[in-house]
Every structure is written in structure tokens, then in C-alpha cells.
């Protein structure tokens, strides 16, 4: 069953179409990967789905309801949450204070589980600005997870992390998708993480859908190999 859907989604900046009539269906309960080369339109897609930008054309459906003109805040309360490509936290607040603040707003009653799931116990009393980058990334994801969102958009969660940290975070993503019963749309450049955790893959190229389907089938698709994967496949 589709929980999040884009139909004919187009985002144009002047004459440049960052997204060009994109159709995307995210099925409930899966980790859905969204990959493609730089400039493919992945981040624009995340912005349009989450409400950060209003598309020029097309619609966004959440549980079948048209949310294209709904605000970021409305979508968050409707169960659509996200993390950011560049870490987006509240640097001067402690980890505990910002999670507690956001948890109250989101109606989260099981903050301890999220803290444990993302291994944040050791930093709760630290200011977020003072903890390591990888830990800040996990705080970013924790903020997005509060309130049991039904759909979680993760925009390059492993950006800036080491190989080992990336794989650990990838496992965190897979675990939380299962434990919290949340559908994940994952934009990621780290293909080891993508093929490790994703149930289904969509490949974008120049703002358009290039391929979609089972990760193994997508990896073998000659168009994907030529446009993006190259020798990495």
C-alpha cells in the first residue's frame, strides 16, 4: 500500500527543472532508497515531499490525501518527518533538552527507547555543539523519529561519516524501520549502505526517474550503470 506518493512532481528554478514530472510511490513498511548522481534532483524531491519547497506542478499524496499545499508543520503532525543532508540540530541546547522539547511537541512517550536505539545515552547532558559530528547526525535522526512518524525521509544520513560509522548508522536505520514500523525514504550516496538496508530502489537522473525496483535488478540495469553506478556496480 502506498503511504507516500508523488505524481508528476516538477520543481523548476527559473529555466532549470530540478525535478521533471516525477512519479514516485513509497510503499508502507519498506526502506526505499533514492539514489542518483549529483544534480539528479534527490534533495529537491525530499524538499518537495516534506513541504520545504512548493512544486511548480504535480501533487504529493500522504496516505492518499493531497498535501501539496500543506505546511511543513502540518505534514509533521500528519506523520511525515525528515532529517537533513546538512546536520540540522539545535547546537546550543543539550541533547536531552532538545529531544525532550521535540518529544513533548510530537507526543512521544518513549524517548528512552529512541535514545537507546541511536546510542545517545552518553551525550544527553552535552551541548549538541560539543559532541562529535557522527553523534550530531544521530541526534538529527532522533529528532525526526520522535512521535512515531509513519514516513521518515532521510537525506544522506551518512554524509561526512567514516565507512564504519556509515555502516553502523545504516544498521540503525534498518533497525528503527523495523522496530518503529516506519517507512523510510533514504537518499544516500554510500552504495554499501544502500544495498545493505534498502528493500526497493529508485534512481533519478537529471530530475527524471531512470529506474525503479528491486535493488539487485536496479544495480544490473545498464542505464543505471552508465548514468550513476559505473564500476561501483
Amino acid at each position: 500500500m502506498a503511504v507516500l506518493e508523488a505524481r508528476g512532481l516538477t520543481c523548476a528554478y527559473g529555466g532549470v527543472r530540478a525535478l521533471d514530472r516525477l512519479d514516485l510511490v513509497v510503499e508502507a513498511g519498506l526502506v526505499h532508497g533514492l539514489i542518483g548522481p549529483n544534480g539528479a534532483g534527490k534533495s529537491t524531491c525530499m524538499e518537495a515531499l516534506s513541504g520545504g519547497v512548493r512544486p511548480s506542478e504535480g501533487v504529493v499524496l500522504l496516505d492518499g490525501e493531497d498535501v501539496t499545499r500543506r505546511s511543513v508543520r502540518w505534514r509533521r503532525h500528519a506523520g511525515l518527518s525528515r532529517s537533513f543532508q546538512r546536520t540540522s540540530i539545535f547546537p546550543a541546547l543539550t541533547v536531552h533538552d532538545q529531544l525532550d522539547l521535540a518529544a513533548r511537541r510530537a507526543g512521544e512517550t518513549d524517548l528512552d527507547t529512541i535514545v537507546a536505539l541511536l546510542s545517545l545515552e552518553a551525550f544527553l547532558d552535552e551541548r549538541c555543539a560539543d559532541i562529535a559530528y557522527g553523534d550530531q547526525r544521530r541526534v538529527d535522526i532522533a529528532l525526526a523519529l520522535l512521535g512515531r512518524p509513519r514516513v521518515l525521509l532521510l537525506d544522506e544520513p551518512t554524509a561526512g561519516l567514516s565507512v564504519e560509522e556509515s555502516l553502523v548508522l545504516g544498521d540503525h536505520v534498518a533497525a528503527l524501520a523495523k522496530e518503529r514500523e516506519v517507512t523510510v525514504l533514504l537518499v544516500e550516496h554510500d552504495l554499501d549502505v544502500v544495498f545493505r538496508v534498502c528493500d526497493v530502489l529508485t534512481v533519478l537522473h537529471l530530475g527524471r526517474l531512470l529506474a525503479h525496483g528491486d535493488p539487485l535488478a536496479v544495480r544490473a540495469d545498464p542505464r543505471v550503470v552508465e548514468a550513476y553506478l559505473g564500476s561501483a556496480a
Binding site: 523548476a12 519547497v53 506542478e57 546538512r86 540540522s88 539545535f90 546550543a92
Partner: protein, 355 residues
């Protein structure tokens, strides 16, 4: 029509805060008992000031310092909690003062009603201005506050029939305020407990508010407004409320000013009054509620001290401000806190060394 999308909302959108604001946000824990005891002792000791400082002139400077300390505190708290820099808060200070004077002197309203109207006017004005401008980021916001303040200055000078124009307006009323005649209220020794209680109440109130859910929300919005929205928070109305509260505190300062001085002039709402109050807040430090009032009291005593020897006393003020920005960007209160912390650590080390 050329199809285009709105500018993407970047998670780090917003303004870069001055170093004075980049201080730890108040934590949700309480005040340590010895600190609470010290604060209470200082507050109680403050009531004895008229018995210690018997010179009316110096006590008067202290009263002025505390009154303008409220104005500085309102600006400093707004800056610290929201990151909004106001160059026009004298507008709310002056509005309260002028409404009291006009209502009482011109319209012969009872003083209690005049005072209530003065406070209400500053709250309403701050609320309306806040609704219009808190969305505007950075320096544009500061310029708008300046514009509002200067517009009010022009209005006051033009409404000569009511405000007295450039000549100003005296406060006249029949009866008493809290049992004191108007003349008595101008005596520093009589008025000191009033301003001291007002300042103490506001400081405690703002300190407590900063530690509530609302206070932390304001800090979160200041830190990362886009993220706050993605966490499901409204980010506009909380800032409007903070701006309005800040204006109300300025208005309280204006009320005390007119009741004590029995006279108000357009200079009260001029931009230099706002600018000086911002300097007081930065000198004292905005990271603590004690900083801006401390800066205000030092400002008045410093001005008296240096202006006696030179008519270029602003040169001294400017030099002090430059030195503080370079060597103690958190202001004097932050410097004092760091010194106390260092002394405490040294004491702990020496104690462990002896053990």
C-alpha cells in the same frame, strides 16, 4: 507564467548571532542552593542602599540605572532568547511614559488609570509591531525597529497640543501612588525600594521563563528555526509573544521613569536612548538576566564620572565597549561568572592537593 518554486528552506537559515548570545542556553535544572541563597541575600541587602548611600545624587543615579536597567534587560533578554536585535525599544519605554503623562496631565485621568493605560499602550504597540516585523531576518529587523522608534519620535514632536512637542510634558496628578505624593516619588530614597522590587521581580520572572518549555522553544527557534518547524512547532507566534513581553518590560521601565521624574521629553523615545540601552545590555552581558541591569548602573555612574572631566565621555564608553567585545564578548556578567568558576576550580584543586 514561468513556473518556479519557492526558495528551498535550508536548515541553517537565519542570522549569525553575536558572540554575546552564543552562550549556553539555560538548562532545565534548578538553581544551586548556595547561588539561590546569594541572590536572595543580595536582593535583601539592596533595600539597605538608601541607608548606605545617603547622598541623594548618587542614589538618584542608582535609581536611574535600575529604571534603564529594565529597558536594557528587555533588549538583552530578547536578544538572548530570540536572537532579535532591537534598536527601537525606547519606543515602548517612551510610549508608556507619554501615555501616563498625557492621560494624567492633559485628560485628568486618575493616576492609577493613567498608569494602567500606559502599560497597556506599550504592550499593544509592541504586540502590533511584533506581528509585523518578527518574520524579518537579521539586520533588516533591527532597521525596522529603529524606523518604528523614529516614527514615534516624529509623531510625538508633531502632536504638540498633547505631548508638548520638543518642550516635553510634565506629569501632574492629584492624590497619591501607593500612599506617596508626587513630590515624594521624585525622592530617590523613597523610590529606590519600588524600582528595586520591580527589577528583582522582572529578573526572577525572566530567569524562570527562560527555563520553561517556552523558554527552551524560543532558544530552539533562535538556534534553528527551520528545524523547529520540522519538529512541528509554530515559530512565528512564540517570537511575537517574546517581543511583546520584552516591550511590556520596557513599558514598565517607562512607567517608573515618568512617575519618578514627573517629566518626559521626546529624547526618551529617540534612537540614542535605544542605542544606549543596547550598549548597556552588551556591556553587562546578555547571557545572564543580571548583566543588562549591571551594565545600566555602570553606564550611569561611568557617564557621571567621565563626563565631569571631559565632554567626550562617549570616547571612554566606546573604548570600554571595544575592549569588552574583544576580551569579554559575553559582557561583565559572563566575565564575573568565568572568574568565579576559575576561582572555584583553583579552590577545589588546592583542597584535593592538601588531601
Amino acid at each position: 507564467m514561468n513556473p518556479s518554486v519557492a526558495a528551498p528552506a535550508t536548515p541553517d537559515a537565519g542570522t549569525t548571532l553575536p558572540a554575546a548570545v552564543a552562550e549556553p542556553v539555560p538548562q532545565s535544572d534548578g538553581l544551586r542552593p548556595w547561588v539561590a541563597g546569594l541572590v536572595l541575600a543580595v536582593f535583601l541587602a539592596g533595600f539597605a542602599l538608601p541607608y548606605v548611600v545617603t547622598n541623594d545624587f548618587y542614589l538618584g543615579l542608582a535609581v536611574e540605572g535600575v529604571i534603564f536597567g529594565l529597558l536594557a534587560l528587555s533588549i538583552g533578554w530578547l536578544l538572548r532568547q530570540t536572537g532579535l536585535v532591537s534598536f527601537g525599544h525606547a519606543a515602548y519605554f517612551g510610549t508608556a511614559a507619554y501615555v501616563v503623562a498625557v492621560a494624567s496631565t492633559r485628560w485628568q485621568w486618575p493616576i492609577a488609570a493613567s498608569v494602567a493605560a500606559g502599560l497597556l499602550a506599550s504592550v499593544v504597540l509592541a504586540g502590533l509591531v511584533g506581528l509585523l516585523i518578527v518574520r524579518v531576518p537579521g539586520i533588516s529587523f533591527a532597521m525596522l525597529t529603529l524606523a518604528v522608534g523614529q516614527a514615534l519620535y516624529v509623531i510625538i514632536t508633531k502632536l504638540r497640543d498633547q505631548t508638548g512637542g520638543f518642550d516635553g510634558l510634565p506629569l501632574r496628578f492629584e492624590g497619591t501612588v501607593a500612599g506617596w505624593e508626587r513630590v515624594e516619588l521624585g525622592e530617590p530614597a523613597v523610590f529606590w525600594p519600588v524600582v528595586w522590587v520591580a527589577l528583582g521581580s522582572v529578573m526572577v520572572g525572566l530567569w524562570a521563563l527562560s527555563r520553561t518549555h517556552y523558554g527552551r522553544l524560543l532558544a530552539a527557534i533562535r538556534e534553528n528555526e527551520v528545524r523547529a518547524r520540522y519538529c512541528g512547532f509554530r515559530t512565528y507566534l512564540p517570537r511575537v509573544a517574546a517581543f511583546t513581553l520584552s516591550g511590556a518590560i520596557s513599558g514598565l521601565g517607562g512607567l517608573l521613569f515618568i512617575i519618578h521624574n514627573s517629566f518626559v521629553s521626546p529624547e526618551t523615545v529617540f534612537w540614542t536612548t535605544s542605542g544606549n540601552a543596547l550598549v548597556m545590555a552588551l556591556v553587562g552581558g546578555v547571557a545572564s538576566v543580571a548583566g543588562p541591569p549591571l551594565g545600566a548602573v555602570l553606564f550611569f555612574f561611568g557617564r557621571d564620572e567621565f563626563s565631569a572631566g571631559t565632554d567626550r565621555w562617549q570616547l571612554v564608553l566606546g573604548s570600554v565597549l571595544i575592549a569588552l567585545v574583544i576580551f569579554a564578548p559575553g559582557g561583565l556578567a559572563s566575565l564575573a561568572a568565568r572568574t568565579a568558576s576559575a576561582v572555584g576550580r583553583r579552590f577545589e584543586r588546592s583542597r584535593h592537593g592538601r588531601a
